[in-house]
Amino acid sequence: MADLTAPFARATTALALLAVDPGGLGGLAIRARSGPVRDALVAMLAVLPVPLARLHPAMTDEALFGGLDLSATLAHGGVVMNRGLLADPSALCLAMAERCPAQMAARLALAMDEGRGHLLIALDEGAEADEGLPPALAERMAFSVDLSDVALGDVTGFGPEPEELAAARAALSSVIVPDEAVVQVVEVCAAFGIATARAPVFAMRAARANAALAGREAVEASDLEVAVALTLAHRATQLPEPAPEEEPETPPPESQPDEGERQEAEGEGLTLPDELLLEAVRALLPDDLLARLAGRKARAARGSGSGAAKKGNRRGRPLPPRAGRLGDGARIDLVATLRAAAPWQTIRASASDRAGLHIRTGDIRLKRFEDKSDRVLIFAVDASGSAALARLAEAKGAVELLLAQAYARRDHVALIAFRGTGAEILLPPTRSLVQTKRRLAALPGGGGTPLAAGLRAAMELADHARRRGLTPTVVILTDGRANIALSGEANRPQAAQDAQGMARALASAGVEALVIDTGNRPEAALKVLSDILGGTYLPMPRADAKRLSGAVSAALGD
């Protein structure tokens, strides 16, 4: 057995197992920049018993699933259909898989679910931690290897010969899986916090393929070890509870070949302790697992990790065209329009005596683009108490300054004031300078500090803005001494608790936040609040408008 701690050996082993059981293992995700190492592995895909089809994320449905071949149809006077790439069983090699949009991922996932013999080789070229495969695809592939740190010198050859693979394929269905193996695999999944049921299914099939490849009639301990290491390690979401100190003589890894050699009569030979299986996975866990898990959570809250996307008709990445009317700055998609008009030509020509193309309004197809959405800055301003008036003036100034900047950056600005017993939306998201100034001038101050109510109003506004395709960022200006609870009663502990609860809700909604402490002394409670929000904390006693807007710009990273 190859040393599975070496990433490249892991990749070739995974590939061998895929070649043995192409229909049942889903596929292999390869995370690596394009280069000789990845090329070496991609060249080995030839061992797979199915033809290779190359895909890229911008592929149209027609190319994938087939459709009417318009030019051939017109030329022949009869319908000619294109065969899509997914029509026949194949190994789909998806380049730049990290850029695969969710829609395409969902359709590929559907094709894989239908069990028509597709397997997926996803080439993930993501450079940052938050770039990665669409979860729907990652879920459906048994294996995942990271070749980023593999040097060309570490590249090894592919092990099994084609005849061996063919023999293993033939023997696959007769390999016996002992019952306790299933239990063991499920327990390992539970220990590593792997919830999906696909993972243990893949592990069992990988073990079976490995046994078939080794010419065994039943799955053995060593097969299981290979299988869990390859299929489960990258799915781990937690480290197993440390085992209670019970066996001082934990069998060293060297002892397991002997174990494999033992008679496998009646599945009796399968005595690999669970601890060893756990070890097999643990050995392959990246060192920074916990850090990555924390990162993953933050990313999950923000959506797919590709940033908030919005559809428009002016700029950005092209999307499929759709029918519509010209006007309002929309641009016509000429080719799509002609395609839409083409089938009608015979009919229209016979109804009219005019020669040439007949295009009607219904044929018009518009270009659509996906663009990074505009940002809306939601200011939640504490307008309470006596000092409020001074702060309020600063906040007003800052909003005006930011509005001027936002005008250039195409950001929107909204303003919420909270005082007394509740919060009030003074200004819904706008870019209008005049309107903002007018509303700001009328902002009164005084009363208690209903921080939770302010946060709730900000959250509602953020929710609303997001539904309109804007990306909200909440900026909270307060001295943090919350004393009015959500219910409106003056109750300091309850108020603090409500504020933290709302902050948690905001954070889980994935809204970016920035807390600006306007008190004379930095307030510890606000630091806590900003940590809950997962945002930036800026202590700014006596904030003035210029510094405030500078701080906001800096914290927002532009």
Partner: protein
């Protein structure tokens, strides 16, 4: 293509299975929304549904599955008047589907080869009297959602284009599944689903082992596995048919109506759709259990799936709306 995994062989996930059975008993309940993590059997259950549904009688070759020859639309150009049994349609609406494919459009083949203006029905026509399934429903494009909302509300699909003026019935049960982490669903669309269930991976080792065992048997010993479970599926199908008959005779005491109204009032669910769905779901459930009268026990068991997606979101309630429904059911029904 392999036959889908049998419905009855799905381990656990009782609420999801029950919700699907209830819509099969009474399609007017209006669809199921299944939300949950990946790998919990959402897609498996929906794809298995088709085998469970009793066949419908429809005019042979009719593109909209009309029940009687009189209902066959003119544009279908059908000569036959023969009525035959066919399986209840379960139509997949793929995410990238274009508007033309969903609503139907000009028949390109006829237009190009014969210069004829003919209508080629789309997915909505095929789903009439059956099920329309959208996987990853929360990623569906907005303009397709609008279209579905419109058709689901009117029960009719209207295509108007340059001399093509087509209307055909499009009444279907909407089944959607998705993972809420990947995108939110518009409230208007959520409201169209009668029932909603949240699925999670089973926590017990034994259950999970059983899941893997059955899946393994399905993959490796396909024929025998299907034979074993198809019988169970058939038993469920028969029970659904019995329940459909029982539904007509079911008594609904006034007291239950008061309970339903009280429950929805206490929950503050928007609109009256909640009450109606809860009542229908409870009736279907009672029929499924072969009871003759509706009672509180039925309400209690289906209140969660009928109401949890109709509550206003409360950002401070971390336990989720399911718990809120359960708590209020406890309070109101005692």
């Amino acid at each position: 293509m392999k036959q889908p995994f049998p419905f009855s062989a799905i381990v656990g996930q009782d609420e999801m299975k029950l919700a699907m059975i209830l819509t099969a008993i009474d399609p007017s309940i209006g669809g199921v929304l299944v939300f949950g993590d990946r790998g919990t059997g959402k897609s498996t259950a929906v794809r298995a549904l088709a085998a469970l549904l009793p066949p419908i009688t429809a005019v042979e070759g009719c593109p909209v599955n009309s029940e009687t020859p009189a209902e066959v639309p003119d544009w279908a150009g059908l000569d036959t008047r023969r009525v035959a049994e066919r399986p209840t349609p379960v139509i997949d609406l793929p995410l990238g589907a274009t508007e033309d494919r969903v609503t139907g459009a000009l028949d390109i083949e006829k237009a190009l080869t014969k210069g004829e203006k003919a209508f080629q029905p789309g997915l909505l026509a095929r789903a009439n009297r059956g099920y329309l399934y959208i996987d990853e429903v929360n990623l569906l494009e907005d303009h397709i959602v609008d279209l579905l909302l419109d058709v689901a509300a009117s029960g009719e699909n209207v295509v108007e284009r340059e001399g093509l003026s087509i209307r055909h019935p499009a009444r279907f049960v909407l089944v959607g599944s998705g993972n809420p982490e990947e995108g939110e669903l518009r409230p208007q669309l959520i409201d169209r689903f009668g029932l909603s269930v949240e699925v999670a991976s089973p926590k017990e080792i034994d259950t999970r082992v059983e899941v893997i065992r059955r899946r393994d048997a399905y993959d490796t010993d396909h024929a025998a596995f299907m034979l074993r479970w198809q019988a169970e599926d058939a038993a469920i199908r028969d029970r659904i048919l019995t329940a459909r008959k029982g539904l007509k005779e079911l008594r609904t005491p006034d007291k239950t109506l008061t309970d339903v109204a009280g429950l929805c009032l206490a929950l503050g669910s928007d609109g009256l759709r909640g009450e109606l769905t809860l009542l229908k779901a409870a009736r279907a459930y009672a029929a499924w259990r072969d009871d003759t009268a509706l009672g509180r026990a039925h309400l209690r068991d289906v209140a969660g799936m009928a109401l949890r997606h109709r509550l206003r979101r409360d950002p401070l309630d971390e336990a989720g709306s399911g718990t809120r429904v359960a708590r209020i059911v406890e309070e109101v029904l005692g």
